[in-house]
């Protein structure tokens, strides 16, 4: 067997990878640097929002320390995942899917309640939001499903098949109830189906169907969810109730002005006017402290990250890798749009974390996992031939 033939065979098998040393050159530097900068930015904001808070109890540094520990864990996960060939994930996709449904089932079964929703599972003194992990796992499953069918994307059966996988996950998340995260699942689905080459009319048809079902969906929504939607349309209708978050958030963002009040100098967030300032409304605190400039810097980092992710997808060696990149990009851009949009009253209030910036280990580690997978895709892209 010639070396070349051996090479072909080994690289075709997920179990026989190319040597590490060569692949390190293939690491996407933009993706990596944007990731590290965003993790740092997130730690700074966690510090800013929590250190001066008079509404959080206990040691004000505990959030920062915990955030730093999660960052280290996240980076470790990212590096570790990047080491392995992502093809493993494709191989294990059926198990991944069952594992994901299991996680979501566990949340419903033994999850702890917080703010009226059952979203996290406590284990060893830590609280895990399994739906954050599940989003990434869903990307893997859909990437495998659509990736294996790039030649059949024109068939409605393919789209329906994807929906069959998507449905149970969305339902389980919705039941927690976490409307926002279940919408993230839907966004991931559409983004990936689009990138996989699904017919536009099929996707548009699905959106139209969903639109037609809106009245029915409205009736299924819980009263607080309905209130959030009506408050989005007119926050001043109930400024003390449903509109409170929106108004306070707008005040925080607007009062930041062009350059902000200075890190930790904001008043809205430290004084507790922003609900869940360290997570859901963290962007309002950031915009208050660091102003328009700080927000635009954040956006720039996001754009670099997203474009890098798209580039990784574009250069991927196979449809599975391409769709992993597309799914992660779709997930991130949707979450950013909804979270930031919520803080500036472009979107209704939902509890979706802002990637990297919102304080929360599950979200950060899940994203790091996803970006590790992307680096794995990048490292294993068809590069210049090694002689």
């Amino acid at each position: 067997m010639s070396v070349k033939a051996l090479e072909m065979r080994r690289s075709a098998s997920p179990l026989h990878d190319r040597p590490h040393t060569r692949r390190l050159d293939q690491v996407d530097p933009y993706l990596l640097i944007a990731t590290l900068l965003l993790i740092g930015y997130g730690l700074v904001m966690t510090y800013a929002v929590t250190v001066e808070s008079r509404t959080l109890t206990g040691d004000p540094m505990q959030f920062v320390i915990r955030g730093a520990i999660w960052a280290v864990i996240g980076i470790a996960v990212m590096v570790t995942v990047a080491m392995f060939d992502y093809a493993w994930l494709g191989t294990l996709a059926p198990l991944v899917y069952l594992f994901m449904l299991g996680l979501l089932g566990v949340v419903l079964a033994i999850g702890t309640s917080s703010l009226g929703a059952q979203r996290s599972v406590n284990f060893g003194g830590l609280s895990f939001q399994f739906s954050e992990v599940a989003k990434v796992l869903m990307i893997v499953v859909l990437a495998k499903f659509f990736g294996d069918r790039t030649d059949k994307m024109g068939s409605p059966l393919t789209i329906l098949g994807g929906l069959v996988f998507l449905g149970p996950a969305v339902y389980l998340v919705y039941r927690q109830p976490d409307l926002g995260t279940s919408l993230v699942f839907v966004a991931i689905f559409f983004g990936m189906a689009f990138m996989a080459g699904a017919r536009l009319w099929q996707l548009v048809g699905l959106v139209a169907l969903a639109g037609a079902a809106l009245p029915a969906i409205w009736n299924v929504l819980k009263p607080y969810q309905q209130a959030r939607l009506t408050a989005f349309i007119d926050p001043y209708a109930d400024p003390q109730g449903a509109g409170w978050n929106i108004i306070q958030s707008l005040i925080a963002v607007g009062s930041g002005g062009p350059t902000g009040k200075g890190l930790t100098a904001g008043t809205q967030s430290p004084l507790g006017y922003l609900p869940i300032a360290e997570s859901d409304f963290v962007f309002a605190g950031l915009a208050e402290d660091l102003g328009f400039v700080g927000a635009v810097i954040l956006f720039a980092l996001y754009v670099v990250l997203l474009m890098a992710a798209l580039r990784v997808a574009f250069r991927a060696r196979d449809p599975f890798g391409m769709l992993l990149g597309a799914g992660v990009a779709a997930m991130l851009v949707f979450q950013i749009l909804v979270n930031v949009g919520m803080a500036i009253s472009l979107m209704p209030v939902t509890g979706i974390p802002l990637p990297f910036i919102s304080h929360g280990g599950s979200s950060l580690v899940s994203i790091c996992f996803a970006l590790g997978v992307l680096q794995s895709v990048a490292m294993r892209r068809p590069g210049p031939e090694i002689s």
Binding site: T55, M195, G254, F314
Partner: protein
């Protein structure tokens, strides 16, 4: 895999995805620009408003003291519970009302509606929820368990407190919360919805002096309304002190005599007023029964309110000025002066009272005895009714002319009857000074000679307030000057600076000659020395006139369980500096007893006479 077909990559869709991402961030950036760069200043104001709260700081109300500085109304420290509606989410309001209501002893519905009203008015301003001061423990609980009581604040407040409440309540009145209707106009004057205002009496009369000006303090707070720190402070202006003309010593002397009379069942209600005829200063004003005005401060209970309203002695009315009574023989002053001034009579005018009854047109008009031959001084001193029937209405049987109702109306009005004296107290009654024209208007009947006779001895239509009667005698005592009676002596600022001094207020000189006024003073002195109001062992040259008026049924008991005796007794007096007829009196006094026994009068023992002697001797000769 380099050679593997890469048709799974669709460049157009990548471009579309990249464009979508750029569009998302462009949209977010544009919106942020609008909020932060364009609208930054506006939102910065809103954030300040959120964070910084300007709270009013209550000003202490001025104290009220007597002429010698004895404090009659002061302030004690206490706690008030307020709610800032802005800090109370609507969804939690019902719960909060339920939790808060028992602590402030109110109905949850009232608490909630008070918050609603303020929400509609100004949700950033606190509304007072406690109607009465709350206990220290409750104040502590509310401030320590802030998370259970969103929007609730505990503020220090000063509580009005009245010394000798029952004695001074007819004068001082009380303070109470402003009503919704009042607030509409008062808010322009700087009142807050939770404000107290003088409700009646001097508290109401001198509200503008007593009331201080709100200060304010700006505090920084978090969303849970916890105060972080005070940013700015502007001290409130304490209200001015009001110094009254009242002499607490005289007030208490009168009170103790009147109370003793009530306790001994000699009468059921009583009034005593003393004033300085030389300047109109009221030295004492007692109306029995009074009420405990501290009840209103503590938040009067429905039971207490029912008790006050159900009392047929009307304790809420200051009877010195607020109700009118027949003056009885004290009114002979007016009849006499009218006859003297109209030239109908002089000091030597004789009437032979040979019988105790005068019959005119078949009607019989009685005297209390057949006096015999009386001149003016004796007629007045012995209080002969027939003498004053004759001076007032003449005698048709002999063709003798009287002063007539027009003249009595003229001089009575000149002496202040039938109109308010203008004393600085709310709720003054004008009394009734009748005339033939008045009777035609009110009763649509012509005046009769019987009306003149009755009026001549202070019965019939004429009705006076004790203050009017005192004022008329004061005019005689000072030689004809009508001073407006007043209770205000001085207004003193918080630093002890005199803000205002009340000067004697001369309303007019009455149209009566000095000669006739001197004769009246002589006659009044005779009342005490030889006549109707004989004072044994008199140590002071008191002059005065008694009066007894029948006013109704002498049966049953009043709310206090005392016998209704059906007669009023008066003694209105003045005290010249020496035992002569000079207009030098610096004290005049009226004692009025309500529901006195008739028998007391038949023995010529008018209880007011003895009380007057004891009070004036104790006041003038006793140790201050």
């Amino acid at each position: 895999m380099r050679s593997a077909p890469r048709d799974f990559v669709r460049p157009n869709r990548f471009i579309a995805m990249a464009v979508a991402i750029v569009l998302v961030f462009t949209g977010l950036t544009v919106r942020l620009w609008d909020l932060q760069v364009v609208g930054g200043a506006h939102y910065r104001d809103l954030a300040e408003q959120n964070r910084v709260l300007r709270l009013p700081v209550e000003a202490e109300r001025g104290v009220i003291v007597d002429r010698n500085g004895k404090v009659l109304a002061r302030n004690l420290p206490g706690f008030a519970v307020t709610v800032i509606p802005f800090d109370l989410p609507r969804a939690q309001q019902a719960d909060l009302a339920l939790r808060l209501a028992p602590l402030v002893a109110r109905d949850p519905k009232d608490v909630s509606s008070a918050i609603d009203v303020q929400r509609g008015r100004n949700p950033y301003e606190p509304v007072k929820i406690s109607l009465r001061p709350v206990a220290r423990e409750i104040a502590l609980l509310l401030s320590e368990r802030g998370e259970m009581f969103p929007g609730v604040r505990v503020e220090a407040e000063s509580i009005r407190s009245y010394a000798d409440a029952v004695l001074y309540s007819p004068l001082l009145g009380y303070v109470g919360p402003v009503t919704e209707d009042e607030f509409a106009t008062l808010r322009e004057k700087g009142y807050l919805q939770q404000d107290l205002i003088g409700r009646t009496g001097l508290e109401s009369q001198y509200e503008n002096y007593l009331r201080g000006g709100y200060g304010w303090r700006e505090i920084e707070r978090d969303a849970a309304q916890r105060e972080i720190k005070q940013l700015a402070y502007s001290a409130p202006t304490t209200g001015n002190s009001v110094v009254l003309t009242i002499d607490d010593r005289l007030q208490k002397l009168i009170e103790s005599e009147l109370k003793k009379g009530v306790d001994e069942d000699k009468f059921t209600q009583a009034v005593g007023i003393a004033m300085n005829p030389q300047n109109g200063e009221i030295l004492a004003m007692v109306s029995i029964p009074g009420y405990d005005n501290n009840w209103f401060i503590d938040g009067i209970t429905p039971q207490q309110m029912a008790q006050l309203n159900g009392d047929d002695r009307h304790p809420l009315v200051n009877k010195a000025i607020g109700d009118r009574y027949p003056p009885g023989s004290t009114f002979k002053l007016v009849t006499g002066l009218s006859a003297l001034s109209e030239g109908i009579a002089n000091r030597n005018t004789i009437v032979n009272v040979t019988s105790n009854v005068l019959t005119v047109d078949g009607y019989r008009f009685y005297d209390w005895r057949a006096h015999g031959t009386l001149d003016f001084v004796n007629g007045f001193a012995h209080s002969s009714d027939i003498y004053f029937y004759t001076l007032g209405g003449g005698n048709p049987n002999t063709g003798r002319a009287g002063a007539g109702p027009e003249a009595i109306y003229k001089y009575g009005s000149d002496l202040g009857f039938g109109s308010k004296t203008g004393i600085d107290l709310p709720g003054e009654d004008a009394g009734i000074m009748p005339s033939p024209e008045w009777k035609l208007q009110v009763f649509d009947e012509p005046w009769t000679i019987g009306n003149t006779y009755h009026e001549s001895i202070g019965q019939g239509f004429v009705a006076v307030t004790p203050l009017q009667l005192l004022n008329a005698y004061s005019i005689v005592a000072n030689g004809g000057t009508f001073y407006r009676p007043h209770l205000l002596k001085q207004v003193v600022g918080p630093q002890g600076n005199v803000v205002f001094t009340q000067q004697p207020n001369v309303l007019r000189k009455v149209g009566i000659t000095q000669e006739n006024l001197t004769l009246l003073r002589e006659a009044a002195r005779r009342v005490v020395t030889i006549g109707h109001a004989y004072m044994p062992n008199a140590k002071l040259p008191i002059a005065g006139k008694t009066g007894t008026a029948e006013f109704g049924s002498s049966a049953g008991k009043d709310s206090a369980g005392r016998n209704k005796l059906g007669f009023h007794n008066w003694f209105v007096s003045f005290l010249p500096k020496a035992d002569n007829t000079e207009p030098t009196a610096d004290i005049a006094m009226v004692i009025f007893t309500f529901d006195s026994s008739r028998s007391l009068c038949e023995n010529c023992f008018n209880p007011a006479v003895g009380m007057t002697q004891r009070i004036l001797e104790a006041y003038k000769l006793g140790k201050p």
